[in-house]
């Protein structure tokens, strides 16, 4: 794989990978780091990237692996220098069908609640959740990337949805 091909991967999947890293890390500096490390690792493993066989899933699985392997590093970084939370207002450009300003406000508040609660989930639930909704991967691709059965992915997504649904009910 030459630099042109890596460039094209950055162009094609950079946004998806970056969005996922940002959601996972909850911190721009760590997300920037994770994003770069993901593509550097991909270069190292570039012979395994088969364009016809889901390179996005491959990149996201690398990001997940790096995230898990670097938990200690990120935990230490957070202990040493607590960094600001991601500014979700600037990070979101959501649109909804709601027509009144009040409904739009409520909708945005609900989105904020979901994001906050999703961030509190254990990585076992959080990672598949972000792979599904943020990286827009299928259950099959998530199962393949995480090397777990599809049933387990469905189960984890179901648990995560249930928790978030319960929170919204209280809200």
């Amino acid at each position: 794989m030459d630099n042109m091909e890596i460039d094209s991967l950055v162009v094609m999947y950079g946004k998806a990978v970056y969005g996922f890293c940002l959601r996972l890390a909850k911190n721009k500096d760590i997300a920037d780091d994770l994003y770069q490390e993901t593509f550097l690792k991909a270069l190292e493993l570039s012979r395994k990237i088969d364009k016809s066989n889901n390179p996005k899933g491959f990149l996201i699985s690398i990001a997940v692996g790096l995230w898990k392997n670097n938990c200690r590093k990120y935990a230490r970084r957070q202990r040493l220098a607590p960094e600001g939370e991601l500014n979700e207002d600037s990070a979101s450009g959501f649109v909804c069908d709601s027509s009144t300003p009040e409904e739009i406000v409520i909708f945005r508040e609900r989105c904020a609640v979901i994001r906050n609660e999703a961030d509190k989930l254990n990585d076992k639930l959080r990672i598949p959740l972000y792979m599904y909704y943020t990286a827009e991967m299928s259950v099959k691709d998530i199962a393949s990337a995480l090397r777990i059965p599809q049933g387990t992915v469905k189960s984890r997504l179901h648990k995560a949805r249930k928790i978030l649904k319960n929170v919204l009910e209280v809200y």
């Binding site: 012979r47 590093k73 909804c96």
Partner: protein, 374 residues
Amino acid sequence: MEKYEQLEQLLSQALSSTDEPSEALNHKLKCRLIENKSIIKPVRKRIAVALIAVVVLIMSGSVFAFWRLLSPKQVAENLGDETLAKAFDSEDAIQINKSMTSGDFTFTLMGITSGKNLSDLTNSAQDIHPDRTYAVVSITRKDGSPMPEISDESYGQTTFIVSPLIKGQKPWQVNIFTMNGGYSECIVDGIIYRIIECDSIEMFADRGVYLYAGTGSFIDNQKVSYNEKTGEITINTNSKEAGVLFDLPLDVKKADHEKAEKYLKELLNPEELLNPAPQSTTNNEYFTDWDDEFADGIVIPESIKEVTYDENGFACYEYNGSKVKTDLNFLFKEGETGIWKIVCVNGDENEKTVIQFLKNESGVVTGRTVKKAK
């Protein structure tokens, strides 16, 4: 409250991301990609050719194969790492040069060294664990034919994994991936030279440390066997992959039992660091929800049957169109028998079933499907 579709829509919009990497970040990334690619690539034949020319003149045929190899220092030089080259040339480095053959390949453990700041190539993991171990392994074909060059299309068709393993620790839990490892590789005259690096293994010197080298990309129970009682790790004789296991001759004086225990605790429970105890407890409660929900579930008698195993050793179970395949090492804890463990949940809000596995004392695993009580 939300209907399913509404919840889905809300989740999709709340969790989707409109963020993009900045141009500056992508520029920085591209520079690093170019830089790294140039580091990975160098193949300097001149040194090897000169070495072989001398060796042919003075060495007998039987030891020629061994002397064909570059030294660890030369390998590091070839990969552009002068600092590491000096480290391999120092008295602290251990020269091993031991070869083992498996399948179509011969693996030679050439040398190993450990310490702080031994490489020009910095790794973010060094922020946490500055002590690193570096080992050089060469890989050749048993029949003497050359390995493909990096530029060849066939390069990478056979993948290799080289990883330290610790006696007393499950190989699939403590290996190069979990020990913040990485590798650099070059090919000189048809021989693959790989330098692996990871957190220092010297602290484990009193326990026994192995180096696994073989084909494939991961460490799993298909490649190596782990004896729960003795902690011994051995090559799985039924493995279809080529693989060898070297005993590393580390200096026992450098062992640090306390440091090793602390390291293993962090490695095996990384979430404890990220999630404070109350958070973990909360999440554990979520994970036991299904056990609670199906505590009085109705077992479908005809669904009870022994699981089968696929070629990768995963336990397989199927009933009424619901299939599941899982790695039992992650399902059952050591010595855990006689307990039905939920493997997966199927169905929708109206009707759910779970598939459960149970391991008996003889190690036989049985699966069953359970309906939720109405």
